[in-house]
Amino acid sequence: MSNFKSSLKVGIFLGVRQLKRASRWTTGLIVFIMTLTFLNLVVVSGILIGLIVGGNNANREQYSGDVIMTTLSGKPDIVKTQDILATIEGNKDFTQHSERYLSGATIEANYKTRTNFNTKADTAGTQLAGIDVDRENDFSNISKYVIEGSYLNPNESGYVVLGANVLRRFSSSFGDGFDSLDGTYPGDTVKITVNGKTQEFIVKGIVKSKVGEVSIRAFITRGDFLRLVDRGSLNANEIAIRRTANLTDDQAKDILVSSGFDQYAKIQTATEAIPDFLNQIELAFGVLGNMIGAIGIVVASITIFIVIFINAVTRRKFIGIMKGIGVSSMAIQISYLLQSLFYAVAGSLVGTIILYGLLVPAFAKHPVNFPFSDGILVAEPSGTAIRVGILLVVTLIAGFIPARMIVRKNTLDSILGR
């Protein structure tokens, strides 16, 4: 044990001095490589996952909330909507909600300038959403995404806000198979038809968001909706709910389920409401990111291996002399472990500073423009810590092996260089 203590002491003594008196450039270069490895490990998977997580977050913000209730399949609407709303409003654990009335609809534009009946009418199918104008805006901030014209006014009737994907000029990238309207600017008049009943609306604004449910719908006031669509009840089709921080999504959902509302509506957490393909993509991206990271780890460990190997080989004579004068093999190995550790820790440290000081804020400010999301950089501290751990362990092994290879060589042969 005392032997280990002095080995440790001498190992640190030698390692520190080797690092201190090594070329600044070489040390800087190795630390730079370790930094890149660390960033490669964290950032690549972080961006890939961030593309999906960014989308999921937006979905939660603008559409689903934390828990969303939707119409049971085969049912026209959510029975007892008003009871449900009363329950939600009466529970302090729920902070916000917005109920939406939905119906398939056809929108026709440019019918006033249509010169003859032989040309096809300019129509597009969409989902018409009747909303409580202010409550929806409080809930989803939808007015922020109005890019032309303005958002609905709760005191006006006869206006519609169109999702951008209903218009050809925003949705040309979806191809011709997808019906959309030509032209159509705020101030234009469109006809909206639901179940054979038609009414004219003035386009008040255009709303554009990467959340599909926002961009493909046409929004009118709840009053207009109920006048246009004969429901015979105040039953909605969708209730999006936000919880306090005291609850998890699942707990919030459980409250609603235990109130028996699952007989009337399909109740899902935000995560459950995410289309499964997105979850699949997230998983696949995670694997992809880890694979790229693994390649980085291999490159870094080879780098460290070569660095330590060359260092130990060129110093083989002195390693032999130190063993000759009684320095234990363990002490010499520890001196190399310390050097590897320094490279890994310095690289991770510089990398962590760049990551949280520069990259994460930069991506939050300028997200990656991805078709269905604004990609952020996801770098959970726990995940980062695990990666730092992996990098440290791999680097230590990569430094230990060559050191051991050289230290184990015959002492006299090392001294004499044979």
Binding site: F13, G326, L412
Partner: protein
């Protein structure tokens, strides 16, 4: 202090077998300053590596300070060298990243002494060889003679029972060589056992006895 009993050393390189030591018996007493001389290739260095536990003989026995060291394990030999032996090599063999003082500190630290003790012994040793003002110089910032003196300080700082030196003056000019030999002389006067390989007959006058080796055998 050292008893070498009929040792042989044979090197095998593929089919080539070289008999370097051919049955050597040597007795070195405590406090003796012994020179080993002989032609180049006679086996002087090889003999010294066996006696100083840097190598082990093909056959025969070596007893150092009452311990039969022939069959020690690798780690036991390292420990034995640390505690009992000191080495001076022809080319000084200082560790290049360590200053003069730090080079001397290494074996002392390895022995598990306290930091203060290590520091004070190392400084004293450096002063004894007249290099107290050079303690923070790296080996590359010292002359050959100065490096060899530091190397002596490193070899004796921990009071080894035996000091081994293989042609310690071979790379030095006359003035530096004299300085090194003067240090040996004063160490010897303090009772240090010294075994030195040398080519220079003039320096054998410092010694109690000369062992002549020729073709792997003791001749006188």
């Amino acid at each position: 202090m050292i008893t070498v009993k009929n040792i042989t050393k044979t090197f095998k390189n593929g089919d080539v077998v070289t008999h370097v030591l051919k049955g050597i018996d040597v007795q070195i007493n405590s406090g003796e300053f012994v020179a080993i001389m002989g032609k180049s290739g006679a086996g002087k260095s090889t003999l010294m590596y066996q006696m100083s536990l840097l190598d082990h003989p093909t056959t025969g026995e070596i007893i150092v300070d009452g311990h039969n060291v022939t069959d020690l394990t690798h780690d036991e030999r390292t420990k034995f060298r640390l505690d009992n032996l000191g080495y001076i090599f022809q080319d000084y063999a200082l560790v290049p990243e360590l200053t003069a003082l730090e080079n001397i500190m290494v074996p002392l630290l390895m022995q598990g002494r306290s930091d203060e003790e290590v520091m004070s012994i190392a400084k004293k040793s450096l002063e004894k060889i007249g290099l107290g003002h050079r303690e923070n110089n790296l080996p590359s910032q010292l002359s050959g003679g100065e490096q060899q003196r530091v190397s002596i300080a490193r070899a004796v700082a921990h009071n080894p029972k035996i000091l081994f030196a293989d042609e310690p003056t071979a790379n030095l000019d006359n003035v530096s060589s004299e300085a090194v030999m003067d240090i040996f002389k004063s160490l010897h006067n303090q009772g240090q056992t010294i075994v030195m390989v040398t080519h220079e007959k003039e320096y054998t006058t410092y010694c109690d006895r000369v062992i002549h080796i020729s073709d792997g055998q003791v001749v006188a």
